[in-house]
């Protein structure tokens, strides 16, 4: 999993004096830098974007950095957003609702959730997988008391939107990000 520290990207692409992700121009510069870094990886590698050192995130930057990345690269790889504040989350929710997109987020304690536009059934299924780790469709249906076809449709939707991964008949959220040695940009 590639770890992208937004403060670091902001400092090397725009200015080392900035602590806020505001303005469309800044968002574009940061997104383009992220795209250059991701181009070094093969498709399919999950990218973890870390908001931990970002103060203010406005809607223009939320749109450029999250909305546009998901629109243009969401089919090629999964994204996990790390360490969002409530205000970051609100801005991202706002722009993703408009694009009918959703993204996996991970808090400081490692808990996973989804932000953005997602039907209730799929959101519940994601919640169950986030707790269980991985599960087969019938286990999900039993755990949530859903009809099997409803659970399967929700899983298919989550898979299609890059919010879960599938492996040998079971489904689960992207592997949680763990800080440590490894590629970082």
């Amino acid at each position: 999993m590639r770890h992208i520290d937004l403060k670091d990207v902001l400092q090397r692409t725009v200015s080392d004096g900035y602590g806020d992700l505001v303005t469309r121009r800044t968002g574009q510069a940061v997104r383009q830098a992220i795209e250059r870094d991701l181009a070094l990886d093969g498709d399919g590698q999950t990218a973890a974007i870390d908001f931990g050192t970002v103060r203010c995130l406005d809607l223009s930057c939320a749109d450029e950095i999250v909305g546009r990345l998901l629109r243009e690269q969401g089919a090629a790889r999964a994204f996990v957003l790390l360490n969002l504040t409530a205000a970051h989350r609100e801005a991202i929710q706002f722009v993703l609702e408009r694009h009918r997109l959703a993204v996996v987020v991970q808090d400081a304690g490692g808990a996973l959730d989804v932000v953005g536009a997602l039907p209730d059934a799929a959101r519940r299924v994601f919640g169950a997988l986030a707790q269980a780790g991985t599960a087969a469709p019938e286990d999900v249906a039993r755990r949530l008391d859903l009809a099997p076809e409803v659970a399967r449709a929700a899983l298919d939707e989550l898979l299609e939107r890059g919010l879960v991964v599938a492996n040998a008949g079971t489904y689960g959220p992207p592997a949680p990000y763990r800080a440590g040695p490894g590629p970082a940009v």
């Binding site: 505001v22 303005t23 103060r55 809607l59 749109d63 909305g67 205000a87 609100e90 801005a91």
Partner: protein, 304 residues
């Protein structure tokens, strides 16, 4: 030839149309803005005055005249708000400009600040977070999330100038007591420019859709209600919608005036009209945001 334009005694959004009427559509004469009897001006009023001065300079290549308020306290407030630093470029000032020392904590959360590009927006957001967070929390009872949303709204409003006005604009932020109807402390953000306005900004992409109905009013509706932008990118046009949502959550007021129309998101404590047409023509766009103290906000002091 010089024509006198009276600056209202109490100059804010309520008296702005009277001021715009006085400024008129713009003729050949030099304008003298007479503020000698002005007792108070909100940030919205001060920015409106700058816009009128800027438009005059662009039209005549000559600064307008401005007589300063006679009341020393009023002139001092204008100085503390940073008005005179910007005004000297657009007005020949008549009267003694008070000298004010830079103060720490103040009801002026952000002096009148020019916005020309993205760097200015970064500067505004940085300063408002450094200086205003504690005040917004203590005096208005806004929680941390709302304070960050406040910076977001400010950023989006300022970017409207950068992206659409085609000229520079200004922003100012202040807290004061809202004596009229609300009787609570409020924070007021004013953002204004003398640029091309909403109708001209959206004309190329929207005018055909509206046909004969295309006007300043429909342009404001398209931008504020439908989230329309002049850019084809589906991610554009979210800024004003985001501001509306933020202010709606905190029972705030949003008013956007452009050309001859004004759109207002009217909170329960206000009696403004949602859309006003046929107003006196005024250059550019003027945005007003008012956020009232929430439960838990301290009682205010300086009343207006």
């Amino acid at each position: 030839m010089t024509r006198v334009v009276e600056v209202p005694t109490h100059f804010d959004d309520r008296t702005f149309d009277q001021f715009a009427d006085g400024v008129g559509a713009g003729g050949a004469e030099r304008l003298l803005f007479d503020a000698h009897a002005t007792q108070w001006a909100s940030p919205y009023g001060l920015l409106g005055l700058l816009v009128a001065g800027q438009a005059q300079v662009e039209r005549r290549r000559e600064r307008a005249l401005l007589t300063l308020p006679e009341d020393r306290d009023v002139a001092h407030y204008w100085a503390r708000a940073g008005f005179f630093r910007q005004a000297a470029e657009y007005f020949e000032l008549h009267g003694k400009v008070p000298r004010v020392a830079a103060s720490g904590e103040s009801d002026v959360l952000l002096e009148v600040t020019p916005v020309r590009g993205a760097d200015d927006v970064h500067g505004v957001v940085d300063r408002i977070q450094q200086r205003a967070a504690a005040i917004l929390s203590r005096e208005l009872g806004l929680e941390a999330q709302a304070t960050m949303g406040f910076a977001m709204a400010l950023s989006e409003a300022c970017q409207n100038i950068v992206e659409h006005a085609g000229t520079l604009g200004w922003v100012a932020v202040q807290t004061y007591n809202w004596r009229r109807t609300l009787k609570r402390r409020v924070v007021v953000i004013a953002v204004a420019d003398a640029g091309i306005g909403f109708r001209r900004s959206l004309e190329a992409t929207q005018a055909k859709r509206y046909g004969d109905r295309w006007s300043d009013g429909t342009a404001l509706e398209a931008a504020l209600v439908q989230g329309v932008s002049r850019f084809r990118d589906p991610g554009r046009g979210q800024g004003l919608a985001g501001i509306r949502r933020y202010l709606g959550r905190w029972s705030g007021k949003l008013s956007v005036r452009s050309g001859t129309a004004r759109f207002t998101l009217v909170p329960p404590w206000d009696d403004d009209v949602p859309l006003a047409h046929g107003l006196a023509e005024f250059p550019g766009s003027q945005v007003l945001m008012i956020i009232p103290a929430q439960n838990g906000g301290a009682a205010g002091h300086a009343a207006h």
